[in-house]
């Protein structure tokens, strides 16, 4: 039997770390978890730059390098790292890097490090190409952020041993839990619902159109809607708001800082993101931490995060009538709102399932358990 010892040194291969987005937040949290476990981390990030990494990528156990989008330089650096044979684990942060990294690893047959892939969400749900499926079968462990993601990987990769896929939910990074709401430079409406999301054309599955339509039907005609995010779909969404005669009640906020955002979460009537394709939905955890009652769509990764009528309200994706009822319920029922606030917050604080401490525990456990299983 092979000796069981925790990983001492890990190579993290990411698409991006120091930027906005759910996957980037996950990567930051994972690096923080490794730091708190005392694991030596070398990070190679394809799309980060020296400027984006800054001082955050240097620490006693951390060394991060960005490649500004250069696949060639990234591949060369990965090869050097693999050939150094100094790692216990190689973690691949995105399936888009899988084929490249596995090809690099194949050049070093004496490498003793175990490999692990993070499967986040939509990138593994549909049509995984044949070469990637083959590469998937060669990975030692696949950490899936939700049960749905795990089932989709298994559905598409016949012959993949199910025990290699573990559900590894996201958590709030400790930087978030230390943040405190700041005074907002902009004036806030008295009663508003909130969404935080990218606003790209390809992100229409986030359900913002349904929220706008639901807003046009809510009992409280003075209720406002703040959408925090940036993207090219904003003119379309503004058109939708005008089409439903709520153009003056829908506010698009961009350039919002994290402390401002915490203020928005704290004061909103409800955080609403009825997304149809959320891999996990880290924003739900953020909203819960700052006490916002959550409304989500009963779809995919969000089902792991939000328990209906317990830690939030779930509605069918696209069903603006159900969404309107959920918003009306939360806005008119103080007791319900308070109950959801408390229950939501309990999942991201104390012994909650999505705390940073639990994430660290899971990380340590997964690295060790995988080693035992491999043995």
């Amino acid at each position: 039997m092979a000796s069981v010892r925790p990983a001492r040194r890990i190579l993290l291969l990411f698409t991006a770390v120091y930027a906005n987005g759910g996957i980037q937040r996950f990567n930051q949290t994972f690096i923080a978890a490794m730091a708190s476990l005392g694991v030596q981390c070398d990070v190679l990030s394809m799309h980060d730059t020296d400027a984006s990494i800054g001082s955050r990528g240097r620490g006693p156990n951390l060394h991060a390098i960005g490649f500004s989008g250069s696949r060639v330089r990234f591949a060369c650096a990965a090869m050097r790292a693999v050939w150094s044979r100094k790692y216990d684990w190689v973690l691949i942060g995105h399936i888009n890097l899988l084929t490249l990294v596995m090809a690099v690893i194949a050049t070093q047959p004496l490498m003793r490090a175990r490999t692990v892939l993070i499967a986040h969400g939509i990138e593994v749900w549909y049509r995984i190409p044949r070469m990637r499926r083959q590469a998937l079968r060669r990975v030692d462990s696949i950490l899936c952020v939700s049960a749905y993601t795990r089932s989709r990987v298994l559905d598409q990769t016949p012959g993949l041993p199910p025990e290699r896929l573990k559900i590894f939910p996201n958590a709030l990074g400790d930087t978030w839990t230390q943040a405190s709401p700041s005074a907002l430079p902009r004036s806030l409406p008295q009663r508003y619902i909130l969404s935080v999301t990218r606003l790209e054309v390809g992100d229409r599955y986030k359900g913002i159109v349904s929220v706008i339509e639901a807003l046009s039907m809510t009992e409280d005609a003075s209720l406002q809607y703040i959408i925090v995010g940036e993207g090219s779909d904003r003119p379309f969404l503004q058109w939708v708001a005008a089409r439903f005669n709520v153009g003056e009640r829908v506010h698009f906020w961009s350039g919002v800082t994290d402390p401002e955002l915490t203020g928005l979460y704290t004061r909103c009537q409800a955080f609403v993101l009825p997304s149809g394709k959320e891999g996990f939905g880290i924003v739900f955890l953020e909203a819960m931490f700052f006490g916002a009652p959550v409304i989500a769509a009963a779809e995919k990764g969000a089902l792991d995060v939000v328990r209906d009528n317990e830690t939030g309200l779930l509605v069918p994706f696209g069903d603006c009538i159900a969404l309107k009822r959920a918003v009306d319920r939360i806005c008119s029922d103080d007791v319900l709102r308070e109950r959801l606030r408390k229950a939501g917050r309990s999942t991201v604080t104390g012994d909650g399932a999505f705390t940073f401490a639990r994430f660290v525990e899971r990380s340590a456990q997964v690295l060790e358990i995988a080693r035992v299983a491999a043995a």
């Binding site: 159109v209 349904s210 005609a221 379309f236 058109w239 149809g276 779809e299 069918p316 994706f317 696209g318």
Partner: protein
Amino acid sequence: MCGILGIHNPAGIAPDLDGFAAGLDRLKRRGPDDVGTWHDACVRLGHRRLAVVDLSAAGHQPMESVDRRYVIVFNGEIYNHRELRRQLQPRGAWAGTSDTETLLEAYRAWGTDCLPRLNGMFAFAIWDRTDRRLFLARDRMGVKPLYYAERKGTLAFASRPGALMAALGYTGLELNPDALRVYLELGYIPAPLAFHRHMHKLPPGHFITVDTRGTRIQRYWDFRAIRPDPGMYKRSEGDLVEELDALIKDAVKARLMSDVPLGAFLSGGVDSALVVAGMKAAGVTHPRTFTIAFREAEFDEGPAAAKSAQYLGVDHVHETLDVNSLLDLLPTYIEEYDEPLADSSAFPTMAVARLARRHVTVALSGDGADELFGGYHYYPLMDRLSATLRWRRQAKHLIARLARLFPVHRAKLLAGALRCNDPVALFGYLRGVGKDYPALLSGEVMNALGDADTWFAQYAAGFAVDLTGAETGMRLDAGLTLPELFLQKVDVATMAFSLEARCPMTDYRLVEYAMRLPQEFKLRDGQTKYLLKKVLARYLPAQHINRKKMGFGVPIAAWLRGPLRDWAQELIHDDALVDHASLDRSRLRALLQQHLSAEREAHPLLWSVLMLLCFVQKHDPRRASTQLSYREVA
């Protein structure tokens, strides 16, 4: 079928009785049997009745509730009203047997929650005299139309825009540029758009309340988010056929409720045959069915319809016409469609309605089945072309350039499809009438958001996730094309002859079933309406069912080069008209010329433009309509 009209202003309505009477007069063909009005200080209601259920005076409208608190005007039918009566306990005895009275009691008992309990086609208004609240509603699938206008505290509504304009005293036409743009792309406009700038169409499945809190529009039913049910794969095909057959029969049976003679349209196709089979199953021993046959074989569904009639054992009535004789209906087309609607199948629909009205007052039709069960040729095409959506941009660009070099329709279609980035845009391209033609509107209108793709994208944002390309197309058709184009066409075409059309396939239970039904039961092995045809196979031989679909076509392209040539040229060379419609004169004339010289087939867009110009002309009080000189030419 009836017509309704009303005006509401909480500060008091203006006493314009002439305008109101003129508005009611515009509804005469919708309701030739009776007329009624009611008013108080804030509301005036008007109704024209086509008596179908409870022919007595007890069915007269506007109708007051027993306690006189509520007043209703109602257009349509509530098919489950007898069932609802059993659940309701009116304050006094029922005064009659009409569904209007049932509806009024249902509202009293359940308020706006009465809507999900109704199975029917309807547009109605209820005035609550105690709470000073006006309530307007339209049926789930938009079988019955309802237009409204709100300005300076007054809200008015009517079954047709012409009645609304008359009642409000609108004389000139202020065109809505958004409506204009979408119309030229699609040949119809989606609700809430209407052509008049200050007018709106209430979308299907919505209601409006007007009270001290203001005007609120709400949706009460929506099929968009219903997910295809994978559990249906586990059931046997026979089981599904049985289930669908039972649903169709039940939908048909509900629509046999009538105190006047009732029949059905019968083409040689699947949908109307299923409806007629449903009538027989419901106990109508010899249903009367109606078909228009044409002497020209390429348009003639007559023999196929006759064969269906023979297999089904019905009392079949047909009229044989020259296809060009349909042109006699052009003045009716222009007069009765208060808004432009570019569907030339309105001609045969009017012809069959005219025929049916000689024998019956109500006719069942198969409309809705194509959109719900996958009947159109472009659904399989959407699935095939959806694969190209994943291609790299450069590859799409290159192949599109190559495809344009081939002078065949399919290559052009591929080139156009390759410009699309998602299934919704692909649907817009395949469904649009304006595709590949030069833009006819000014750049200012064209550059703003609000084109057909924007409307489709907004509507499709509520669709269940992970739908295929074909399913996306079917839902867009069911939610937009069906109510705004086809049901509108049927409503006006039948109304023009005071005939009530009923569409069993739009029964909400069938719609919800169709949404749950996975695509493989709609399109399979190159076959459209797979499961529906399996149901029909219980009543007709397979070889008859699987004949090539013919459609309700008319030779618009040839008409524009022949009997309608002078009329079209006169309209398109009328600069004042063309300018009023914000159209580019030179591009429009060039397009007409290309069509007349057979250099290019431009009839879908030209027909849309001509209907638009007729509409603008009709609303210009300073001028007479262009002389319809096609008879002489013909």
